[in-house]
């Protein structure tokens, strides 16, 4: 039976491969039917616009691999953006030190999550639900909700538009993030222990691996990445406000799950996550360029709707396959069978 897992058919039916196929279909369709989809400028746009969410998704992936979740990253992005504004404007700090402090605070916020989750063994969903409110609330409290920070240092703002070697700055950040996380998750013992923790924290502990420290790491990093995303976002939008990153946590989770990472922990990959981000970004960009959609003026709604539907289909696809094959078996056996409920 185990051998069968490695057969060609199963490799083709692997989630990531299917996703790449979907992505390919999207691109082919939009190249054929969407207006000016395949231009370099548009490709640049796609990357620039998905950089922050892409980074958050990359950071979310190892968290989910350890069997956790981080709902607070969108809010933390808002808090970091505002903090950066406070430091540069109210505290009159230079851009670089202010950015460094912002990153440090992001890290500290990640550490706060990590502390509650590992030292007190609290469920990550609940802890980060709490910090989701807390971080956004602090951002609003700091700015009294109303303050918007503008007029940042021009050299900082130019990062929002900058290109190196013809490639937008955001793409470099995304590549850097992907490489970093790719190496971390796939090529180091740390990544290996994220996996084993995701499968079985107790079993990992009994193998002499310090589960708490290892579990804490992805949360720490996701705090840091949220701060990076906040800076990128501020540079691109030329302003910092308490509502930065609203709802980004859900988009990031969507991308990660679409990319084949199991929400129960243990399995997940960087390239899957990248494919997930790409599938969403391409869909968002392309659907608004299809003439019929343009005419009806429903691009944004339709894109969101399709993202939801895509996620549903991606989730249900293996199940539907299983049901179909069960039907075949059932005909042979004449007996019903149902999938087991998963338990984490």
């Amino acid at each position: 039976m185990a051998h069968a897992n490695r057969s060609l058919k199963n490799i083709l039916l692997r989630h990531e491969v299917l996703l790449l196929l979907v992505l390919g279909c999207e691109i082919a369709y939009f190249l054929g039917f969407a207006r000016n989809f395949g231009t370099a400028d548009n490709l640049t746009n796609i990357i620039r616009h998905s950089a922050e969410i892409g980074l958050l998704a990359l950071a979310m992936m190892p968290v989910i691999v350890t069997g956790g979740i981080d709902l607070s990253i969108g809010s933390l992005m808002g808090l970091c953006a505002v903090l950066f504004g406070v430091l540069t404007h109210d505290a009159h700090m230079a851009t670089l030190p202010a950015a460094a402090v912002t990153l440090a605070v992001g890290l500290a916020a990640g550490a706060f999550n990590a502390l509650l989750i590992t030292a007190l063994r609290l469920p990550p969903l609940i802890v980060t639900l709490g910090t989701y409110s807390l971080f956004r609330g602090l951002a609003e409290a700091v700015t009294q909700g109303t303050k918007t920070y503008r007029d940042f240092d021009p050299s900082f703002l130019s990062l929002g538009e900058a290109r190196w070697l013809g490639v937008p700055f955001q793409a470099w950040c995304l590549i850097g993030g992907a490489l970093f996380y790719g190496v971390l998750v796939h090529a180091t013992t740390l990544g290996r222990s994220f996996r084993s923790i995701g499968f079985s924290p107790e079993g990992t502990r009994y193998a002499g691996i310090s589960v708490q420290k290892r579990t804490a790491l992805p949360y720490l990093l996701s705090g840091l990445v949220a701060a990076v995303a906040a800076l990128l976002f501020t540079a691109r939008l030329r302003q910092a406000r308490a509502d930065a990153g609203t709802g980004y946590e859900l988009l990031a989770i969507t991308a990660v799950v679409l990319g084949g990472t199991s929400i129960f922990g243990g399995t997940g990959s960087v390239y899957g996550t990248l494919a997930g981000i790409a599938a969403i970004a391409v869909l968002n960009n392309g659907i608004g360029r299809v003439p019929l959609v343009l005419k009806a003026g429903i691009g944004s709604e339709l894109a969101a709707l399709c993202t939801g539907a895509l996620l549903l289909i991606a989730l249900a696809a293996p199940g539907i396959g299983r049901i179909l094959s069960n039907l075949g078996q059932r005909r042979a056996a004449g007996a019903p069978s149902a999938p087991k409920l998963e338990k984490n």
Binding site: A2, L190, S196, F199, S200, G203, T204, A207, G208, I209
Partner: protein
């Protein structure tokens, strides 16, 4: 002749490409204890699940009390008087004992009323009947493993079932609890119920069973009465083992080793309040197998957990190779050269979803992967080496741990720790739930390791195993070390006496 309670004819069941049962026939009569024997993977668990309705067979006929039954569900099996005590207690950890018993015994009609007081009274009387001292309002997650097992037994009893299936019920019970259980089984038999009894401990089968059916590779090999009508034994252990494995097993235990070497581990008055370990002093030398005997709950596993840093010691001194050490975490224990093969293989020993090579490398990450970089070649080599050395049956180092049989999983768990090249190896119930063939292989491996100069502490509830394997036997009771027996002093009687003696 009365109608058999249970008759299975030519039952078959496949999971994907694997044929777990290839035509099994089996009969259970009223007033009989029928032992079901077979190596792990022989199909016993699948067979039980067919009878309890958890699995639907692909072919064959299942008759209950003379009536052919199709599409059996757990509910229906229950209604037809079949109860089962599973190896892993299938209880609800967040609910109270009485509710657990209630949920198992009451009909699952959705709008049916819940009578809390009756539940409690029923639970109380059932627990009393099996002699368990458990308050019915205790939450199950506050109970120890054997206590949970007792609750399971109470459930099965309470259902008033005519057919009771017990899957290794004594695996984690203390001796006195075992005696109570045997009494319950005899009681059942006397009342005309049938008991299907599964155990790897052959002496239990000789003590209890009327007939034995042996399964091998998904087939029923034979059914034999244990005694003749005049009460004489008709089967020998050797015979049974041979039937199970299909080959001759010459010596059950390997010969003992030479005289031990230097002291590796020295404990002085080690206590841990959280772990129920008090003032334990113990010495283990290189090349020595120290058997740690005692009832379950006597503090043996707890002592191992203290040594491995899972629940660190509060007081006392631990010396390892002549140096004082304080072990605060498993990580530290591993660095000091201590290895612990845990009791609960599926939860702690092996990560079932991960390939076996990755399982084996887990404890040697720093050594195998310097600088934290994974080296896939080295890992694979490690996997191949142990697959060969320990004779693990798997298609390769990429096989997920869960695809292996229990005995092979145990070997993987052992391989993980051998890879660390430890100085002290602690084995906790190394052969629990392992079939006979794999059992003697594991024994041979343990002996070899000791020969090579490893200090071994072996916790086991299997008295013959403790006697057969240990150079010295330490007995624990109530968290304390109460006896250290060697040579001719070490007998089943002396161990039990030490384990049971009241203050």
């Amino acid at each position: 002749m009365t109608e058999p309670l249970l008759r299975l004819s030519q039952i078959s069941k496949s999971f994907g490409a694997v044929r777990a049962l290839k035509g099994v026939s089996f009969e259970l009569h009223p007033g009989e204890v029928h032992a079901l024997l077979g190596e792990n993977g022989a199909g016993k668990s699948t067979l039980i699940k067919v009878v309890t309705g958890a699995h639907t067979p692909d072919g064959g006929l299942l008759e209950i009390s003379g009536q052919a039954v199709h599409n059996l569900t757990p509910t229906r099996a229950q209604a037809l008087g079949i109860a089962c005590i599973y190896q892993q207690p299938a209880l609800f950890p967040d609910l109270s004992v009485s509710e657990n018993i209630g949920l198992r015994l009451e009909s699952p009609a959705v709008w049916g009323r819940v009578y809390w007081r009756q539940r409690r009274e029923k639970a109380m009387s059932l627990l009393k009947r099996i002699g368990a001292d458990i308050h019915p309002e205790t939450l199950v997650n506050r109970l120890s493993m054997p206590e949970q097992q007792l609750v399971e037994i109470a459930c099965a009893l309470g259902s008033g079932a005519r057919t009771v299936i017990m899957d290794e019920p004594t695996a984690s019970l203390t001796r006195s609890e075992q005696e109570l259980l045997f009494a319950v089984v005899r009681d059942l038999r006397a009342s005309g119920a049938g008991v299907v009894y599964i155990s790897h401990r052959l002496e239990e089968i000789f003590a209890l069973a009327d007939r034995v059916t042996v399964l091998r590779d998904g087939e029923s090999i034979c059914t034999r009465p244990v005694r003749s009508d005049s009460g004489e034994m008709q089967l020998s252990e050797e015979e049974l083992i041979q039937l199970m494995v299909g080959r001759e097993v010459s010596a059950i235990y390997p010969p003992k080793g030479r005289s031990p070497g230097e002291t590796v581990l020295e404990l002085k008055n080690v206590s841990c309040a959280a772990g129920n370990v008090s003032e334990v002093s113990l010495t283990v030398r290189a090349g020595e197998v120290v058997g740690l005997a005692g009832l379950v709950g006597a503090g043996r596993t707890e002592l191992a957990r203290v040594l491995f840093g899972i629940t660190p010691a509060d007081s006392g001194s631990v010396r390892l190779n002549g140096k004082d050490v304080r072990i605060q975490s498993p990580r530290q224990a591993v660095e000091l050269g201590i290895a612990y093969v845990p009791e609960d293989r599926r939860r702690h020993g092996v990560i079932l979803q991960m390939p076996i090579a990755q399982n084996m490398s887990m404890a040697v990450h720093p050594k195998l992967f310097p600088g934290k970089w994974l080296r896939f070649g080295a890992e694979k080599a490690l996997g191949l080496r142990f697959i060969q050395e320990l004779g693990i049956k798997a298609y390769g180092p990429e096989a997920p741990g869960g695809s292996l049989s229990g005995g092979n999983q145990q070997k993987v768990s052992l391989a993980r720790w051998l890879a660390t090249e430890p100085k002290l190896l602690i084995l906790d119930e190394p052969t629990q739930g392992v079939d006979v063939g794999a059992k003697s292989e594991i024994h041979r491996i343990i002996r070899n390791l000791a020969e090579q100069g490893l200090a071994v502490v072996m916790i086991s509830s299997d008295l013959p195993e403790v006697l057969g394997m240990s150079d010295r036997i330490c007995v624990m009771r109530g968290g304390r070390l109460v006896a250290s027996l060697e040579g001719v002093d070490a007998t089943a009687d002396s161990i039990m006496a030490a384990a049971l003696k009241a203050h």
